[in-house]
């Protein structure tokens, strides 16, 4: 199966999953109330995040054929995403400024004058399109990493908190060992050891970020273990697995959601630093910014590339950060109390 088919399949799964979650949320009062509260407090942030998600989905649905590929013979055999189709072929030779009619340095006329909202990059690619495509990469980094890190943290944290003793000792040892290694070095080592790909970068980020949540999950489980209803369930003869799945896990879900949102921006920012060190993810905003280090010092400066990536990144992080606050306020019982 080719990668574009996988991508389409993932979109389908995500849509179905999203719908299922939406239904589940609407059935539970607490969750519904939380969603409503978040929406009430930060409608702007929610909308912005939705736009990013939409862009990411548009850039994930791809199919072959029906495009004019110009001189590029190979492209006829490759899948093109919906987003790219919306933009069409917008290739130039090299840099051009936003909405310019001529090339930036040698002043020759452009093939598509005035159509590049954010100008073009060194190879003549449309920066606006790249910026939009960055949304998919950023969400992929944040999403995939969380998808690895959170289950990992739960897998270690819950048993450690629930059973205690030996298991707790082992988990605690693993956590303190990992935490004692400088994050950046660990990241680099993992990417170097496993090779460089989006998946590996996400995996490395997950390995370095799961410890924090694991600690929270462990602590919370310890607290839940002593709850009356857990004791009651145990008295009624429920097995440990049942207790964990039915009584502990659901009560950690709000922490999962909070962690997910709060972790997100940190991950996307880390990727930018990794990009500077040469282990970024293809097509990410971090990579565009790392490039811009050189481009900004061109004279006249090429600022639109970093501008596009910066705005894309900044917008997402700002929205996510605000959303994170709202989600935490809505879900965290500690801050939920009225002041």
């Amino acid at each position: 199966m080719e990668s574009w088919m996988v991508s389409n399949l993932v979109v389908a799964v995500l849509l179905v999953g999203g719908a299922w979650i939406a239904v589940a949320v609407s059935r539970h009062d607490i969750w519904r109330a939380a969603v409503q509260q978040v929406w009430k407090r930060r409608p702007g942030a929610v909308l912005v995040v939705c736009v990013y998600v939409l862009l990411a989905l548009l850039d994930s649905v791809a199919w072959r054929g029906n495009v004019d590929t110009g001189s590029d013979v190979v492209a006829q055999h490759e899948a093109v995403t919906l987003l790219e189709r919306l933009f069409g072929d917008a290739q130039e030779k090299s840099y051009s400024a936003p909405l310019a009619d001529i090339e930036f340095y040698d002043h020759s006329p452009l093939k598509h004058p005035g159509s590049h909202l954010f100008g073009t990059d060194i190879l003549g690619g449309d920066v606006f399109l790249m910026t939009l495509k960055g949304a998919r990469v950023a969400l992929l980094i944040g999403g995939l990493t969380s998808l690895i890190a959170i289950p990992l943290a739960l897998l270690f944290g819950i048993p450690a908190g629930y059973f205690g003793k030996r298991i707790d000792d082992v988990v605690f040892f693993i956590m303190s060992t990992l935490a004692s290694i400088p994050t950046l070095l660990l990241l680099i080592s993992i990417t170097v050891a496993l090779g460089r790909s989006t998946l590996v970068v996400c995996f490395a980020l997950a390995v370095t970020s799961w410890v924090g949540f694991c600690r929270i999950a462990r602590g919370e489980t310890m607290k839940l273990r002593e709850m009356d209803y857990v004791h009651a369930a145990r008295l009624m003869g429920a097995s440990e697995t049942t207790i964990i799945l039915r009584h502990i896990l659901p009560n950690l879900m709000h922490l999962v959601v909070i962690t997910f949102v709060l972790m997100f921006s940190g991950l996307v920012l880390s990727e930018a630093v990794l990009a500077w060190l040469g282990i970024g993810v293809n097509g990410s905003w971090g990579l565009m910014i790392a490039k811009a280090k050189d481009e900004l010092s061109r004279d006249p400066a090429v600022w639109w590339n970093v501008g596009g990536a910066g705005v894309g990144l900044f917008g997402l992080l700002l929205a996510v950060n605000f959303l994170g606050d709202a989600v935490r306020d809505a879900l965290d019982p500690r801050t939920r109390k009225e002041s």
Binding site: P182, L269, A272, V273
Partner: protein
């Protein structure tokens, strides 16, 4: 208390052993001795030269100990050299690592200590300020600015500040450092070199820190004892400084003490961009140059400091919070 610290130290020692094993696995998965040798000797080196180099640096031993020869493995050499603090020489340039690190630490601390202290003071003062004016537009704006600050990549801060303050306004040198400046006591020049990186460092961590401090303060401000203090007739300033700040120190301490190891290891990006020859810069070189011998020492030292810092955190709790007793 003593028993507690001893137990913690013992546990820390165990963690160090684990860290060492992890370092070993990671680095040897990362680099084979041949690659290290080629990087050290250059592209033009030939096979025989590489073999000689490996023998000289002890990389000709087997990785793991075998039953037949349990002594002569790289793993054992790794543990022995690090645990005895005999770091040996760099793979890349054969200079003694101990000296390199001692020299680099000075430059790193010259950067990180002012950065840390000014960041801490500024963050606390601003967080207090914002918490003091909570529920006014200053608070909203403060939080907004913090989130704004957090949403900008540090790379952009560095590039932007070099462009604006050094190139356009010419206030400070674009980059540079001179270790002699510290020895000579040429404070004017030192200040000039550090002004920009320190500012950038503070700016980049500022948003997150301030917001965290603010959350802590606001949480404390809403507690009952604060209401009691007000009902006694205490003024806002007094409430903030005497009651809120002291209680808020507990969560803040965790964040602050755990940051201390990072002071010694320096900042990779700042040091690289501002030409400060500290440990961060050495680490970047070691990464780029495949210098396994230096990297593992850096990781090891960090781990040691980190473990010590955690014990220090525990102890410092007892100083600020009478409810905590170490047992």
């Amino acid at each position: 208390m003593l028993a507690y610290v001893l137990r913690k130290l013992a546990y820390g020692g165990l963690t160090v052993l684990g860290v060492l094993l992890l370092i070993f696995v990671i680095f040897f998965a990362m680099a084979r001795p041949d690659d290290v040798a080629r990087r050290a000797l250059g592209e033009k080196a030939q096979g025989a030269q590489i073999e000689k180099w490996k023998a000289k640096h002890g990389y000709d031993k087997p990785l793991w100990p075998t039953l037949a020869k349990p002594g002569g493995s790289l793993l054992q050499a790794h543990y022995v050299s690090l645990l005895s603090f005999e770091f040996g020489n760099s793979d890349l340039n054969d200079s003694p690592i101990g000296t390199t690190i001692r020299d680099g630490m000075g430059a790193s601390l010259a950067l990180t200590i002012p950065m840390f202290l000014s960041g801490l003071v500024l963050g606390l003062v601003l967080a207090l300020f914002v918490a003091f004016f909570r529920e006014t537009y200053i608070d909203t704006m403060g939080v907004f600015l913090c989130v704004l600050g957090m949403s900008v990549s540090i790379l952009i801060y560095i590039i932007g500040s070099q462009f604006v303050f050094a190139k356009m306004l010419r206030w400070f040198p674009i980059s540079g450092f001179d270790t002699d400046v510290i020895a000579d006591g040429n404070w004017n020049l030192l200040l000039r070199f550090l002004a920009l990186p320190v500012t950038v460092g503070v700016l980049s961590s500022f948003g997150g820190d301030t917001r965290f401090y603010r959350t802590v303060f606001v949480e404390e401000v809403n507690r009952d004892y604060v209401r009691t203090a007000r009902a006694k007739g205490a003024g806002e300033m007094r409430v903030m400084l005497r009651h809120v700040l002291r209680n808020a120190m507990i969560p803040i301490l965790t964040r602050v003490v755990v940051a201390i190891p990072f002071l010694f290891t320096g900042s990779l990006l700042l040091e690289a961009f501002f030409g400060i020859p500290g440990l961060g810069s050495i680490t970047v070189d070691a990464i780029a140059g495949n210098d396994f011998s230096v990297l593992r020492v850096m990781v090891y030292i960090f781990a040691l400091l980190f473990i010590l810092a955690q014990i220090a955190t525990d102890i410092s709790y007892t100083l600020v919070d009478p409810r905590v007793r170490l047992e």
